[in-house]
């Protein structure tokens, strides 16, 4: 059975069409990643699924319940770790968890026990009775996760769980999520704008761009779907002849797909090792200096580029601006 079914959701905020007919399904017990740049519509999707906001049209069910018709049933079945921490800074970690449990109708010894268990699980047992104001960013984030888990939800929403964390805290968070998925038998919907995060954590990913799903599948399948290798040529100088150089690369490599960003020309070829000498000699012949050449296996980044025709990092910056 599918834990989440999203069908043709649309939502408009004044000028922006945040969701433009987004559809996908998440199987029970899997970690599903919604991957996309800032402003793609990931968070809006999560806000609809967690009943915080209503879609203009389309339907969605979570744990078998329609989010618009039975929001309270959905709320009982889900845990929500928002992009912005919902920790009460003036309360201790334990008090934060106890209150959340009470909101879910838990009480007494079972609640206290569950809270102690969670504090242990996310490594906050020793700081449990300190006011959350004194916690580091990573600790607050782990407390957020624990808050989302108090009532043993069936589905957990992790909206950008590692944004704003330093690399060390991010790595710790990843291990945490992997363990939770295993030990708590959760369905997890993860949104992220870190390609490596989706690659590492999600069994399946859906790439979101401008309020729609562009492609979905297992990360490895998506990457394998892009055959061959990627050759990236860094041109020596920007002499106004980049377009010409691109044409040269394209012809020499026999590549179907060539993308340019600044002085970097990226071509997808069947065999990198064979294509490089051809590309280099053709560029040399026409007098285009080359600074460097690299080959790589396709990444999710390339999958994104392939399906949207846009560079992920650049779109991410634009979306954030």
């Amino acid at each position: 059975m599918d834990a989440i079914v999203v069908d043709e959701l649309r939502k408009r905020y004044k000028e922006v069409q945040a969701l433009d007919g987004i559809s996908f399904a998440v199987r029970e017990g899997e970690v599903f990643g919604l991957l996309g740049p800032n402003g793609a519509g990931k968070s809006t999707t999560v806000r609809v699924l967690t009943t915080l906001t209503r879609a203009d049209s389309g339907t969605a069910t979570v744990a078998g319940q329609d989010v618009a018709r039975h929001p309270n049933r959905v709320r009982r079945a889900i845990g929500y770790v928002a992009q912005d921490s919902g920790v009460d800074w003036e309360a201790t970690g334990r008090e934060n968890l106890l209150l959340q449990g009470r909101v879910h109708g838990m009480a007494g010894a079972p609640l206290k026990q569950r809270v102690a268990e969670l504090l242990e699980l996310v490594g906050l047992a020793e700081s449990a009775d300190r006011v959350a104001r004194t916690y580091s960013g990573g600790m607050k984030r782990r407390l957020d996760v624990a808050i989302g888990l108090v009532h043993k939800p069936q589905v957990l929403f992790l909206d950008e769980p590692t944004t704003g964390l330093d690399p060390e805290a991010r790595a710790a968070m990843w291990i945490e999520v992997e363990r939770l998925a295993r030990e708590e038998h959760l369905t997890i919907l993860l949104t992220t704008h870190y390609l490596e995060e989706a690659d590492r954590l999600a069994e399946r990913v859906a790439i979101v761009s401008r309020g729609r799903i562009v492609v979905e599948g297992r990360p490895d399948d998506l990457k394998a779907g892009l055959e061959g290798e990627l050759v990236t040529v860094e041109l020596g100088e920007d002499d106004g002849r980049v377009a010409e150089a691109v044409a040269v690369v394209s012809a020499a490599a026999g590549a179907g797909e060539v993308h340019v960003e600044n002085r970097f020309v990226r071509a997808r070829v069947p065999h990198g090792a064979q294509a490089i000498p051809l590309i280099l000699s053709a560029l040399d012949e026409r007098g285009h200096p080359v600074a460097s050449v690299t080959t790589s296996r396709p990444s999710l980044d390339d999958v994104y580029l392939h399906y949207t025709g846009r560079d992920f990092a650049r779109e991410d910056e634009e979306g954030a601006a």
């Binding site: 920790v87 800074w89 909101v103």
Partner: protein, 256 residues
């Protein structure tokens, strides 16, 4: 039932958070005392102001209790803005939290603060020679007036907080509302000495309802019927502003 229980836990949360702010506790106790002492001294020689009360401080004490309660209420929305900014509200909204409990807990917390401050003020008043002529019942009326007044304005303040959602706007509104309502009431001056138009307006000022109820209890030690009516008005006003805040909460929900 569910709503009542959740409101209770959320009040506990807010009260506990406030108790962790020593400065806040100090201000809560010291500020009303300052009002009482300063105003009490400033106007002590102007006999007509007190309208037959034993002393100006005795006349003033129920007024300052009410002033303090409604000032506290007008600022109550700051806690809501803080919760919105910290996304604590969203966290509750994605859980089966009662919407009414989220709003009511802020209102009730302000009311409880009002009661505590009223007790402090009455005790300070006693040391300054004030007598509560209504006895035990008089105390209860003063505390009830303080409780309700704080809640009337806390409901209003939380509604504004949910509409404006910015601290600066909230501060401006609280200031804009606070001082005029104080001067359009008989907190400092007996009604008999007010200009006609102020007297007319003051009849519709909830602050004044509280002042009349409390002053009856302290100075006159009687007129329970009149006090009861004023308290009933305040209860109705509390319901109205709490409804307003709940309506504003819905509008906040629609906007996210």
């Amino acid at each position: 039932m569910q709503t009542a229980r959740q409101t209770g836990w959320m009040v506990v949360r807010q009260a506990r958070n406030l108790m962790r702010e020593p400065i806040w506790i100090a201000m809560m106790v010291i500020q009303p005392m300052l009002w009482l002492v300063l105003y009490g001294q400033l106007f002590s020689k102007v006999t007509p102001l007190r309208a037959g009360a034993g002393s100006y401080v005795e006349f003033l004490t129920p007024g300052v209790v009410c002033m303090n309660a409604f000032f506290g209420g007008t600022w109550a929305g700051m806690a809501m803005i803080n919760d919105l900014d910290r996304h604590v509200v969203d966290r509750f909204l994605a859980a089966p939290a009662s919407r009414l409990a989220i709003v009511l807990s802020q209102v009730v917390r302000a009311g409880i603060t009002g009661i505590l401050q009223a007790i402090v003020l009455l005790l300070v008043g006693l040391t300054l020679g004030v007598r509560v002529h209504g006895g035990f019942a008089g105390w209860l009326v003063v505390l009830a007036a303080s409780f309700l007044l704080a809640m009337v304005f806390a409901g209003f303040s939380n509604g504004i907080a949910l509409l404006l959602r910015r601290e600066a706007s909230m501060i401006a509104t609280a200031n804009f509302v606070g001082l005029p309502l104080m001067f359009l009431s008989s907190i400092l001056v007996t009604t008999a000495l007010m200009p006609g138009w102020i007297k007319a307006i003051s009849r519709f000022n909830p602050v004044n309802w509280g002042v009349h109820a409390a002053r009856n209890a302290v100075v006159a030690g009687g007129q329970w019927g009149s006090s009861g009516a004023y308290l009933a008005f305040l209860l109705a006003a509390t319901a109205a502003t709490s409804l307003f805040a709940t309506w504003c909460f819905r509008s906040y929900q629609r906007s996210i």
